[in-house]
Each structure stands twice: as structure tokens, then as C-alpha cells.
């Protein structure tokens, strides 16, 4: 079926020579046959340089290595120029430079087998989920673009299943990409369980897994920098999350990693302006899911103004309103998450309240999250890293210092979306403590009101 033994390993990828991991003779053989083609890593134009892996154009991202040396040897493929230019932006994935090109597979294409019975999942979808799932199937059949705008807790993963089923039956190669490694770690085992006969690879910084022409690749968007013209179906989960929405190279990586005709599905609860505009202008078909899978409305954030909140936090004291909120939770035996803007605040609060804290650089991050989920901890202090992609069944949430810059509208909506996730306990308390009411706070509350209204309308229509 596969005409060439190397083709499943390399087709659809854009790799460095050492990533190919071939012996020199095989490598040269494939090159002369034209099965591997060399792509210059750094594109030079009159006005800018562009890295052909991460597509950065910032002058500060390029560095120079002088080739002159006092050491007297003539090493292999020594460049003729005085210096080589390399990309510093993506150097963590191995250096690309004017002397270290990238390679793409140009040989026979490896086809994927069609899978007759890809899934064993027997769950049922709600009417709204079903609507989104059907739209997705349509998009995959027509190879078109679609935005699924579903509130937090709408059951996005299950909505994907019908589309995935169709894709695997047609022998399509599918990628689920997300900016967050946490999401990959949470999603991959679920998909493995529900699609046991599907070849799958979960890729994020530090995994051992490799993708040898898998049916399904679940990856962080950074990993897509190693791909080119590879996928028939691309699903981008949490499109608006950091770093995807502010790192220009990642959308370019997504665009490069899909085949010429492809289906592109965006999933998010909080689309950014660009997607909103495209959706309004009817450039992008949009399906809105305003209701959670359990049919209950989103918890409406309570706003609570605290004077001199930031001075309090700096001095390491807590205002009465907040201690009162915490005491109430403790009295009612409710578990809760406290979101704070900075790591320093997390540290000082953690000491004061004797509650563990987690942030992006905690070495035992996964362990802490795991303990909180297992109910070993009653509470957890966190920075924005837990704002999305993680589900704790029944908790309350408070944001301390919600007027800080890191809490934009999307972040606040996502944080509010952590509460009331389970059907048994659909109401959770969400409170924003702030000193100055910001636009983001107002918008986040408006968003919830709007979605709840839409949801109500839908329920009425449906009944």
C-alpha cells in the first residue's frame, strides 16, 4: 500500500536533518531520487528575513554566527560566507540557519486506511450538541471552514465525535491542535478510550510519542511548526488562548500544516475580534451553543468592589469582603479556586491563608491539579493558567484583583466557566473582587447574560 518505507514517517512534515534521523547514505539516496527536497530555512527578501519554520520576521529574532575560527580544520559543508544567519525564535526545536536547511517529503504519498468502526462511544448528544456535530460533519464533507462558538461546559469534546467518525471512515488525517499542553494531556486519553482502533499521537513539548502517519494527531500548536501539507481536517481548540492569539507564527503554522483542500474547525467559548468580524461578515460559518450540556444557565458573576484592594494585597493583608467570602465557603463546605493576577500575590496569599498555590512555573503543577481534583485539597490559589481546559466538578470561584491587566474579557469568561460544571451541582458562586470596574469585567458579565438569554430562547423554541 505504501510505496516507500520512509513515506509514512516523513510525508507531511518539514524537518531538520537530525530530526530525519537517517544514515548519511540513505539520506543522500533519498535526496538524489528527489524524494526529499531541501528548503532553505531562512528566506531573504529585500526588506526582511523570514524563518521558514516559525515564520517570524522580527529582526531581533535572527542571530549571526561568524564562520571564521582560529582552529585549523575544514569541517564538513563549511559555509562559504563570513557568517551564517539563524533563527532564535524557534531554536528550542533545533537550530535552523542559512547553513542548516529544512527537508520536506516529496516521494510517494502514504495513504491512510479507511476505518469501518472507529469508535465505541455510545453516549448521546443534546439537541444543541447535535446541531453543532452535524454542522461539523457538513464542514468535513465540503472541506470548508466553521466556527463553533460554545460556552464553557457545553461538551465540546463529545460534539467532535460524529465529525471524527466520518473523517476516519473516509481515511482522512485529522489534527486537533490547541495552544495549551494541559489540554492535550487531558484530551488525548479520552480520545484514546473512545476511539480504540485509531492510530493516535499526542504531541507536546517533552513527549516521547512520534507521529508515523497517524489517523489522529493531538498536538499543541507549536508542534505544527514541524508539519507541512499534512492534514485533511484541522480542529483548533481554544483558538483564543495564549499564545495562539498573539504569536503570529502559530496561525501561519496551522495554515501550513493543512492540505490544499481541507476542513478547518475553530472551537472556542470566547472568540477574539478577528473571528467575530469574520463571523459577522458571513465569511465564517458560525454555530453558537449558548447552553451547557446539562441545560442549566451559566453562573452569573457577582461583582464586588473593594477599596484599596491592591494596596491590601501588596501589604499582604486581606480585605474583610474577601475573608468573609472565604469563610462562607468554608462554612458551607464548598471547595473553591482563588484566581490572582501574579505569582507573587499567589505566594503571599498562600502563606497567609495556608492554601496551596499553582502557577506556570510550579514544578509539581500536574500533581497539585490532580490533588485538587481528587478532593485532597479544599481550595487552591492559581494564576490564569487554570482559566481553561480543566474541569473540576463542583466548585466556587473568586477572582481577586479582577481589574488587573491579565484578566481580559476572555480570561474572566473562562474563569467564570469553571463553576457549575456538573449536572448534580449546576450552580456555583463566581465573584470578581476589584477596585476599579474595567471594561473586561463589564463585558464578561454581559457575555454571561447574553448567553443565558440565548439559551433560554433556544429552550423555549425547542420545547
Amino acid at each position: 500500500m505504501n510505496a516507500n518505507p520512509w513515506s509514512p514517517r516523513f510525508s507531511g512534515k518539514r524537518l531538520l536533518k537530525n530530526e530525519l534521523n537517517l544514515s548519511e547514505s540513505v539520506f543522500q539516496g533519498l535526496l538524489t531520487k528527489g524524494y526529499l527536497i531541501e528548503i532553505p530555512s531562512i528566506k531573504e527578501t529585500l526588506f526582511y528575513l523570514e524563518c521558514q519554520r516559525c515564520h517570524t520576521r522580527k529582526p531581533s529574532h535572527f542571530g549571526k554566527i561568524p564562520t571564521k575560527t582560529i582552529q585549523s580544520f575544514s569541517y564538513q559543508n563549511r559555509p562559504a560566507t563570513n557568517s551564517i544567519t539563524y533563527c532564535r525564535n524557534c531554536i528550542q526545536m533545533g537550530r535552523v540557519s542559512t547553513n542548516e536547511p529544512l527537508y520536506e517529503w516529496n516521494g510517494p504519498i502514504a495513504n491512510l486506511p479507511k476505518v469501518k468502526q472507529p469508535s465505541i462511544w455510545r453516549g448521546e448528544l443534546t439537541a444543541l450538541q447535535s446541531k453543532a456535530a452535524d454542522a461539523m460533519v457538513e464542514a468535513i464533507r465540503n472541506q470548508s471552514k466553521i466556527l463553533i462558538h460554545a460556552v464553557c461546559g457545553a461538551g465540546k469534546t463529545e460534539m467532535l465525535y460524529r465529525g471524527l467518525w466520518i473523517a476516519f471512515r473516509n481515511g482522512f488525517r485529522v489534527c486537533i491542535a490547541t495552544p495549551r499542553a494541559d489540554v492535550v494531556r487531558e484530551l488525548a486519553p479520552r480520545l484514546r478510550r473512545d476511539f480504540p482502533s485509531i492510530e493516535m499521537a499526542a504531541l507536546y513539548g517533552g513527549t516521547q510519542e512520534t507521529d508515523i502517519n497517524a489517523h489522529l494527531v493531538v498536538a499543541t500548536t507549536h508542534q505544527l511548526l514541524r508539519y507541512s501539507k499534512s492534514f485533511d481536517v484541522m480542529i483548533v481548540d481554544e483558538v483564543d488562548a495564549f499564545p495562539y492569539h498573539h504569536d503570529k507564527s502559530l496561525p501561519k503554522a496551522v495554515a501550513r500544516s493543512v492540505k490544499e483542500s481541507h476542513a478547518l474547525i475553530y472551537l472556542t467559548a470566547t472568540p477574539r475580534l478577528d473571528l467575530k468580524i469574520a463571523s459577522r461578515l458571513k465569511q465564517l460559518q458560525t454555530i453558537s451553543i449558548p447552553l451547557r450540556y446539562h441545560g442549566h444557565p451559566l453562573p452569573l458573576p457577582k461583582l464586588s468592589q473593594v477599596f484599596k484592594l491592591h494596596q491590601h494585597l501588596q501589604q499582604g493583608t486581606l480585605p474583610k469582603k474577601i475573608t468573609h467570602w472565604i469563610d462562607q465557603r468554608k462554612a458551607a463546605q464548598r471547595r473553591f479556586l482563588l484566581f490572582v493576577p501574579t505569582i507573587e500575590t499567589a505566594q503571599s496569599l498562600s502563606k497567609k491563608l495556608d492554601i496551596p498555590y499553582v502557577h506556570s512555573e510550579s514544578s509539581n503543577r500536574e500533581e497539585l491539579i490532580h490533588h485538587f481534583r481528587n478532593q485532597q485539597y479544599e481550595a487552591l490559589i492559581t494564576t490564569t493558567i487554570l482559566e481553561r481546559g480543566v474541569t473540576f466538578p463542583s466548585i466556587d470561584v473568586a477572582v481577586i484583583g479582577a481589574d488587573h491587566d491579565v484578566f481580559d474579557e476572555a480570561a474572566l469568561v473562562q474563569i467564570a466557566g469553571r463553576a457549575g460544571r456538573s449536572a448534580d451541582d449546576p450552580d456555583g458562586d463566581v465573584t470578581f473582587f476589584y477596585n476599579v470596574k474595567t471594561k473586561a469585567i463589564v463585558k464578561a458579565r454581559q457575555y454571561t447574560e447574553l448567553k443565558n438569554l440565548e439559551g433560554k430562547k433556544f429552550k423555549k423554541e425547542f420545547n
Binding site: 549571526k64 582560529i70 582552529q71 580544520f73 564538513q76 532564535r88 533545533g94 547553513n99
Partner: protein
């Protein structure tokens, strides 16, 4: 201006003292804070942080070789976690530009401790390693100083020092050979001084060939 380590842009406050300072800043304050200067009580010879006057490593060498070929070592930073990460990117990923972050401290240390007429000897790299990396990190450091470089030494061994135990390092064969006559005053340049065996091997070769003063300037004392 951008920090050479974290690539973030550096905002410089305009004050009277910075207004006429046209030197390019290559390190942001947050990265600078995370680099730890090698200070406090140190061995007078190799700058290992210890309460003793002469550390056990230096004592061992004096016993082992009767006379220590190295006159002294100067190191600027300690090998903390941040430095480990930075060196991994510099050496193993091959991010050459990072070297410019250390230009200022490296020049200052040289001017403070070493005579102007000294020649610099960057520890040579084996050919295979050089072709992998595309540069010699010791030479990159040496080029930060505007001093004549001495090119008359070659390295014959290929093994990685960092993979060996202390004892293996100390008893290994000397991998260096001279191809030219040695200058009188010489400063060996290297990135990391761990047990000092690499630097001392080079120093031994130089002293045997008649060098009068051999000392070393290394970026890190681990």
C-alpha cells in the same frame, strides 16, 4: 535593543548617567538578576566558593603534579539553574548570540585581573563537535575581548567532559598538543571551570613549552 537571553526588548530609563552612554545594553534587568555572581569567600586560586584558603581540588592537583601548572583562575558567575538553562541553549542548541550578553562583565573581569600584554587561548574544540555546533564557545567568549588570540594548540581527544566522573577527568590523558611556540603570558579562556582538569591540562602543555605565566578566565565556576 533586545536582551540577548530572553529576546525581550530592553527599556532604558533616560537619566543623566545614561544619556551619554552609547554602549549597547545586551542584558535585561530580569535576566541579569537571575545570573548569580561568583562572590563571597572563595579559594584564592580557583575561585571555588569555600571557607578554606585553598580548596580540596587545588590541593589535590598540587599533590598529583607536585607543581600546579595553573597560576590562578577567575570566574564570573555560578552555575545556578538559570545559568544551566542558558548554557544549554548556548552550547547544545547553538544559540551563538547569547555570548554577547556577557560582553560587559567579561571585559571588566579581564581588565581587572589580567595584564594587557597577555595572549588569549580559547580551549580548542574537537573537530566533530565543532562541525555539529558551528562554533567554539570558548573562542566566542575570547572574541568578546579585544586581545590577540593564540591559535597554536589542537585537541586530539573527542570525549565529552561532562559525561565523565571526577576521577576519570583527573587521570585522563592530556588531549592537547602545541603546534607553535608558546607565548610568555597567556590567559586560557573557557566557558565552565568544574574540576579544572581541562584548563590544567592545557596549562601543563604551555608550561612545559616554556610559558612563564598561565592563568584562566572562565565564565562559570560550578
Amino acid at each position: 535593543m533586545h536582551c540577548k537571553i530572553c529576546l525581550q526588548s530592553i527599556e532604558k530609563d533616560t537619566t543623566w548617567s545614561t544619556l551619554f552612554d552609547f554602549r549597547e545594553r545586551t542584558l535585561c534587568s530580569s535576566c541579569d538578576e537571575q545570573l548569580e555572581k561568583n562572590q563571597g569567600p572563595t579559594c584564592k586560586k580557583c575561585m571555588k566558593r569555600t571557607e578554606e584558603k585553598l580548596c580540596s581540588d587545588c590541593m589535590f592537583w598540587e599533590q598529583h603534579f607536585q607543581e600546579d601548572p595553573l597560576d590562578r583562575n577567575v570566574s564570573i558567575y555560578t552555575y545556578n539553574e538559570f545559568m544551566k538553562e542558558t548554557m544549554a541553549r548556548f552550547k547544545y542548541r547553538g544559540d551563538y548570540e547569547i555570548v554577547h550578553a556577557w560582553k560587559d562583565p567579561f571585559q571588566r573581569a579581564f581588565n581587572k585581573y589580567f595584564p594587557k600584554e597577555s595572549q588569549l587561548l580559547p580551549i580548542p574544540l574537537a573537530e566533530s563537535r565543532f562541525s555539529e555546533r558551528g562554533f567554539n564557545q570558548a573562542e566566542a567568549l575570547a572574541r568578546l575581548l579585544e586581545q590577540p588570540l593564540f591559535a597554536g594548540m589542537i585537541r586530539t581527544g573527542q570525549e565529552k567532559q561532562s559525561k565523565k566522573s571526577k576521577w576519570e577527568r583527573l587521570t585522563a590523558d592530556n588531549p592537547f598538543k602545541l603546534t607553535e611556540t608558546s607565548p610568555e603570558t597567556i590567559v586560557i579562556i573557557d566557558d565552565i571551570f568544574t574540576t579544572g582538569s581541562t584548563v590544567r591540562f592545557a596549562a601543563q602543555v604551555l608550561k612545559d613549552a616554556g610559558a612563564k605565566s598561565v592563568s584562566s578566565l572562565t565564565l562559570i565556576r560550578s
